[in-house]
Symmetry: C2
Subunit: 413 residues, 2 copies
């Protein structure tokens, strides 16, 4: 048995306990939040080791910022765990049921997944967030964080384990993979018989590696090539605000806007309005020939620009002839995350929402709302861009399974 | 582009039409049933070619029986298509929704998967069943049937396409892969970007190949190593009936019983009663030492017998010390399909249903009821043994996805 298989076997045993752990899951989380607060200094000390090494290795400022913990951020992590503990238990909900003509009573009831694997990068707060969500969903979790946050992740995992043991749950309910090589990540993707679900959280490269290598069930997350389409019947001031918000409020996240499509009939008026707003944040525009004609400051876009999730102050722009052309562009280039139409036409709005095949389709609102908290799901473990099992933000209810319980009195077929 | 990729691209275009096809889906199915009835002779002629070749190649009697169509079986296929057409459209159901404090109106609504691939063996009626279910669920389907049924499958596919065109739907809504080599099957498993879902229907070998090779989202189906546990508080006559029904009513199906577990306290009395009943159908028993002591006719079981889906008149038997031991045995050997406890103890029944982690858990009823029709789901496309997306019988509602539609009035974040 490899080290990871041993962890997998231990996780399966923990999962069997968690399956019927009831309120102990909540108690463990509250305990974890308490320990986290009490041991803030210890966490910060572990994090300081990671930050020092990262600085020596020349990590970029923005990544360093994500990696660095402060007392306030640790408090945020503790609060995050408590928020999860305050959610309704997703296990044991009766989804449907009926009594069959032969008297069989059938109940479809939510049950835990079992063992969930999470592969993620950079931020140490993902460790506590993801562990809390999996635990509350009744699943054991095997975390495989990035090497840059290794000491921070170890410290957080240790206290989650301490909290589990304090309430009588197995410490193997939460485990961290110590080997942060690419090999351990690939091995996890192949752990059939141990992992019931693998959630990769990271960039396009990680997602591609998972699609290529995974033999266990996977939910792909987080790649967002999001579009705003400004229709000929749009309120152009609203459009400018929605594009500005979608592009600049947090360019590094997956629900940020990457491509703007504008109807030819309003392009002459809309593009300068939108460009003026985006210029406040020095957003670079890459447009088709019509866009470049209207906006001399725009650079010519290449095909690849429409395929790119920039995660930066860059926006691809294209003028389209119709709502149909906008839907066609989205069908070709979108990653299926979030798209928006700005329009006052009911007919066009209904056409767009019916025909755009993405996790979240917006009418007159920013794509930035695709987020578990904003959508009322509570904390989220990721945003699914696939169609199997869960789509869009995944909260507690999206990381459980179900089973049928059938009660009879000797029925045979 | 390979032939399969061309089919995938055509299917994606058809899927875009099917997404909003509404009642045309139903019309196409009714038309298909009509054509199927009118062209029974044509279908039987095509089938005769397959059957002749199969006989020449020495196909076994039971497989030949599955392959052979008769006028009555074609009528059954037509009726099956009409049954699907009579079901409620699974697309466009509002699963949940709310108005957020900022005024955003969020709706979670079912949508088609897009393109579904199905790999299956032997029986030509799967072609019409699967195509009907996918079409009604608003998805285009790429069928990859076994080579033994090739001419039958082609004939059925042609008439489904004719029916689609007759009502104005693209004929590429239903396509059959003409290359029935193993290579085409493996290529399908890797068709990311074309297939939104792949459902393999077949034996353990096919499922293993899919787990090994698939890069597209998959729902594993149909491997059933099902257990009956006869508790110390069981009604032993009921137990004998449930075991007899589970083992012998149709041994070749996935919801048939493969292993019997009996509590030690009642083994002396229960085993002879059950064995006498099973002996009517000459069921071979393979037991542990205690079983062999009580039943001299039983053969000694090997470890492998507890892992095997016999699909035959063979039953593995083990005497266990407790309900906990039964649950432990099931956790180790089960494929997660269907398990049954026979007991009159409420406490033991509740323990068993809570702790057995299978798609369907029965109290005092035959495992043979794990079936879409028997459970009230309507026709089924397969029985999932995985936990992601769908578990147990999959009807129309299990082969759709959902998306969020968010309506606002200029909200930004």
């Amino acid at each position: 048995m490899t080290q990871l298989q041993k962890m997998g076997a231990a996780a399966k045993q923990a999962a069997a306990v968690l399956r019927t752990a009831g309120e102990k899951k909540r108690e463990a989380l509250l305990k974890a939040a308490e320990i986290l607060r009490n041991e803030t200094e210890k966490i910060l000390a572990a994090n300081a080791i990671d930050v020092k090494a990262a600085k020596e290795n020349g990590m970029s400022e923005s990544l360093l910022d994500r990696l660095t913990l402060t007392a306030a951020r640790v408090e945020g992590m503790a609060k995050g765990i408590e928020d999860v503990a305050a959610l309704r238990d997703p296990v044991g909900r009766v989804l449907s049921g009926e009594t069959r003509p032969n008297g069989l009573r059938i109940e479809k009831i939510t049950v835990p997944m079992g063992v969930i694997g999470i592969i993620y990068e950079a931020r140490p707060n993902v460790t506590s967030d993801a562990a809390a969500l999996c635990l509350m969903a009744g699943s054991a979790v095997i975390l495989r964080g990035g090497k840059e946050a290794f000491h921070s992740n170890m410290a957080v995992t240790a206290l989650m384990q301490e909290a589990c043991e304090a309430v009588g749950l197995p410490k193997e309910s939460v485990q961290l993979v110590e080997d942060t090589s690419r090999a351990s990540s690939v091995e996890m993707m192949g752990m059939t018989g141990y992992l019931d679900l693998l959630i990769p959280r990271g960039g396009a490269g990680l997602i591609r590696a998972v699609v290529e290598n995974a033999k266990v069930p996977v939910i792909e997350t987080g790649v967002g090539n999001c579009h705003v389409y400004v229709d000929k019947d749009a309120d152009l001031e609203m459009a400018a605000e929605i594009v500005f918000n979608g592009k600049t409020s947090r360019p590094s996240v997956c629900n940020a806007v990457e491509t703007l499509l504008v109807h030819r009939e309003v392009a002459e008026k809309a593009l300068p309005m939108i460009a003026a707003r985006l210029n406040e944040k020095h957003v670079e525009l890459r447009g088709d020939s019509e866009t470049c004609r209207i906006l001399p400051e725009a650079k010519p876009a290449e095909e690849a620009d429409y395929e790119t999730e920039f995660l930066d102050y860059i926006l691809a722009v294209r003028v389209v002839d119709s709502a149909e052309a906008a839907v066609g562009h989205i069908a070709q280039y979108s990653s299926g995350h979030s798209e928006c139409i700005v329009t006052n036409s009911l007919k066009t709005a209904e056409y767009f929402t019916a025909c755009v095949d993405s996790a979240a389709v917006y009418v007159n609102a920013s794509t930035r709302f695709t987020d578990g908290g904003e959508m009322g799901l509570g904390a989220e473990i990721g945003i699914s861009t696939q169609k199997l099992h869960a789509r869009g933000p995944m909260g507690l209810n999206e990381i459980v399974s179900y089973k049928y319980i059938v009660r009879g009195s000797g029925q045979i077929r």
